[in-house]
């Protein structure tokens, strides 16, 4: 290779190297690496729904806005998985409350997929047992489905030991809504409170820095 050819080759390769080195700085930084959360590539806008909260008041998409929300879907007749998950979510809130860099704690929301048996008054007492700040919603099955379908959350009645004791198969995942009320991330089982809490802080910081 002559000196002239080397110079031409360098003249071509150097700008390319520079562009490659500078490229990441142009777009948003890569999302944080997370331990338990599955981040949606783009937060998903949710169509409005018409539910009822644990005070018996209407609960719409707008009520999710202005604050981060952890939502868990279950029913109070579930003695094993649901109390385990809600106690775990209460531990997440405790971890977050111990930090001093969060101006506001996320909302902990229990969505009952058993409106037949779970009245608003019953739900209020049930969720407060795990964390006095938790709230609950429920509603007509079709309105519940309108919401859960958009989140990939499933629920289905299954016969129990008697007609009164029916069971409900339900997704065990925890959904994270951002302050715009968009479906932002999903936490699949098995849940670990420490990992969920630290993932949440990473997600929130990234969201605030990059929109």
């Amino acid at each position: 290779m002559t000196d002239h050819n080397t110079a031409v080759w360098l003249a071509r390769i150097i700008p390319l190297l520079l562009i490659t080195a500078l490229l990441p700085a142009c777009g948003p930084p890569p999302p944080p690496s997370l331990q338990q959360a599955t981040l949606l590539p783009t937060a998903k806008t949710i169509a409005d729904f018409n539910l009822i909260n644990d005070k018996g008041e209407p609960f719409h998409l707008d009520n999710l806005k202005g604050r981060w929300t952890f939502a868990f879907f279950g029913y109070t007749h579930c003695p094993d998985v649901c109390p385990t998950s809600l106690a775990m979510l209460a531990r997440v809130m405790k971890r977050l409350a111990q930090r001093n860099d969060l101006d506001r704690l996320p909302r902990g929301l229990f969505v009952s997929v058993d409106p037949e048996r779970d009245t608003p008054a019953k739900l209020a007492r049930y969720v407060a047992y795990f964390d006095p700040a938790f709230s609950a919603v429920t509603g007509d099955p079709e309105q519940l489905k309108l919401l859960t379908r958009q989140l990939g959350i499933l629920f289905l009645k299954s016969p129990g030991d008697s007609s009164q004791d029916y069971l409900i198969d339900h997704s065990a995942a925890i959904v994270l809504f951002d302050p715009q009320g968009k479906f932002h991330a999903l936490f699949n089982v098995p849940h670990e409170a420490d990992k969920i809490a630290s993932d949440f802080v990473l997600i929130k910081n990234y969201y605030e820095e990059n929109g």
């Binding site: 279950g74 109070t76 007749h77 579930c78 003695p79 094993d80 998985v81 109390p83 385990t84 106690a87 019953k122 739900l123 007492r125 049930y126 047992y129 795990f130 499933l154 299954s158 129990g160 030991d161 004791d165 069971l167 198969d169 339900h170 997704s171 065990a172 995942a173 699949n188 089982v189 098995p190």
Partner: protein, 141 residues
């Protein structure tokens, strides 16, 4: 003699229940029910140190109208509960009933059970023998 009986009573209260047939039941507890919850779950560990396969067929308690053997399963992210006819207790092995897995589904307690209360349970086995244990009501394991 008085002290001997006191000590014996005390040891009966705190030691795991051991049946003659080589089965030991330990760490029996019932999850305290949140207000309004009609169902409770109980958990325990059964060691089968014998050379004989066994099975748990049912559980009864004077404090509950109805107890069924249950299992929680996670199928592609969906939590399901199913009742079971029996829980196999293979020879030389240990079976644990724990949150998210095998459990005793307890319905209709005679009155609300508070943390710390001790509830007698009778485990009915496939060979018609029984094991009596005491489960404590607790918020967590």
């Amino acid at each position: 003699m008085k002290y001997f009986f006191a000590a014996l009573l005390l040891s009966l209260c705190i030691s795991p229940a051991i049946a003659e047939q080589g089965l030991t039941v330990k760490q029996a507890w019932i999850r305290e029910a949140p207000p309004g919850a009609a169902m409770m779950a109980a958990y325990l560990t059964i060691d089968n140190t014998s050379a004989r396969d066994q099975a748990l067929l049912s559980v009864s308690s004077p404090r509950f109208a109805h107890i069924t053997l249950h299992r929680s399963l996670n199928v592609d992210g969906v939590a399901r509960m199913r009742s079971l006819e029996r829980i196999a207790l293979p020879a030389h092995s240990s079976v644990t009933l724990e949150p998210g897995g095998y459990h005793l589904m307890m319905s209709m307690p005679d009155k609300r059970l508070a943390s710390g209360e001790r509830v007698p349970l009778v485990l009915h086995l496939a060979d018609h023998s029984e094991i009596r244990v005491t489960a404590q009501v607790r918020k967590k394991p």
